[in-house]
Assembly symmetry: C2
Homo-oligomer: 231 residues x 2
DNA sequence: CGCGGCTTTGATGTTCATCAAGTAAAGTGG
DNA sequence: CCACTTTACTTGATGAACATCAAAGCCGCG
């Protein structure tokens, strides 16, 4: 009733415009009444592969990984997503159950809506649905393109690619804290942990990067780009 | 005017229900007025990577490959699609230009609608848009899952996977004509042509398959499934 | 009929996974 | 808070998996 007492802040939410731009103020208020905000700390599981899909999630803050575990217990990382990359959308409309797990790799905040209610809006409001579709399309396109890119490179190119990905796409800085373990990088690029480490060490010896544990500083970006591009 | 004279047969089209189930008969007639049907023979390019997206396409018959050429001229095949797998949808709503090429690997028939008109329907008819989204979601999900599956396997497992894919998913038969060259298989699974050939020869020597040029007969399916699953 | 692309096989070398072993860091229970 | 356990990181040695190079036969097509 009283907006001051409500913890809802959708009206001020920067992400609102992403896919609620075609939802009226009244509808938005309805949605906000039933939304829930949840925080996850680094390492926490947000969605478990196989779970029934009841919620519609979108990320407000943080960084997550999308992954899948194969029958022999090995993980493959499909992609990393920051806010605006709506990970939860991937199988929401094509499956009853989540096909991938989602895990916070940095402290993250997620807004949760009831999926049925979102679907009801989608069935009534075509512009809203259109916005959703554009987002789904963008996210999946990015995943497919990125995977193709990685696939055509060798070990060194793949590691360089990942470093540039975090540097440019996630952190916009030549120095950053790697949010993932060496093992997770390996799971992402489809190589072994040992070889990821060896490659990083090699980059360090060649003075392309500096390493202080998780902290990475890209010293010679041109060179790294060359390795990423040509192997 | 006269339906007998019209080459439009949308009303009878089996694919209609896929995404025109929520379009009224009148609207469907409108759409049919402006649709065009085109045939492509095996090997013909249907969509060229980089082209502006003006059309909305869906496949009525045939088999196509979705591919991307990297700067050094090497092709990577993203997926194969038969009718119901709407390849053209992939970047239609997230990009101005096609990000992939589409080529017929079997004689194919494609229906072409003006994209703007389809988008107009999408902006007005939420259920239609919802249907579209579900399809987009299904297709991209399938691509991502299939690529993950291939990624975690070694050479032999990948070749076995492709053979089973064509046998079970495309042709529903233990014997079939490979619609693609050895090289295209290599481009799909990310290995070299020579090693695809060597692996096929090995399967033949082990009496898992018989090979007569393009014609493949799967003799020992259980064994092939084992190789696909465990390497 | 000859040219180019597809297929096949063999020989060789490179890239990468695996195994092993040790250090550092981080979480756990008394 | 410290001993203990576990997990992450690192390096080296070895062998397996795969790419590359080379050569030859095959087939379709202009």
């Amino acid at each position: 009733m009283n907006p001051e007492n409500s913890k809802c802040s959708c009206e001020q939410c920067k992400l609102k415009s992403l896919f609620f731009s075609h939802v009226t103020v009244n509808e938005l208020t309805d949605i906000c009444e039933i939304k829930e905000e949840r925080s996850y700390s680094k390492g926490e599981l947000i969605i478990k592969e196989g779970e029934k899909i009841n919620d519609f999630l979108y990320m407000k803050e943080g960084l997550v990984k999308l992954s899948k575990t194969s029958f022999d217990g090995k993980d493959q990382i499909i992609s990393f997503s920051k806010p605006f990359d709506f990970v939860s959308l991937l199988s929401i409309f094509s499956s009853e159950n989540f096909r991938y797990s989602v895990t916070a790799v940095e402290d993250s905040v997620v807004c949760i809506l009831d999926l049925e209610i979102v679907k009801n809006y989608a069935r009534e409001n075509a512009l809203f649905t259109m916005d959703l579709m554009i987002r789904v399309s963008e996210v999946t396109d990015k995943i497919i393109l990125d995977n193709l890119e990685i696939k055509r490179k060798h070990l060194k190119g793949r590691v360089a690619h990942v470093l540039l990905y975090f540097s440019e796409y996630i952190y916009n800085s030549d120095e950053f804290d790697l949010p993932v373990s060496r093992r997770e990088i390996a799971e992402y690029i489809g190589m072994t942990t040992e070889n990821v480490i060896r490659t990083l060490s090699e980059f360090r010896k060649d003075k392309i990067i500096k390493i202080f544990g998780k902290d990475i500083l890209i010293v010679n970006k041109k060179r790294l780009e060359g390795i990423s591009e040509f192997g």
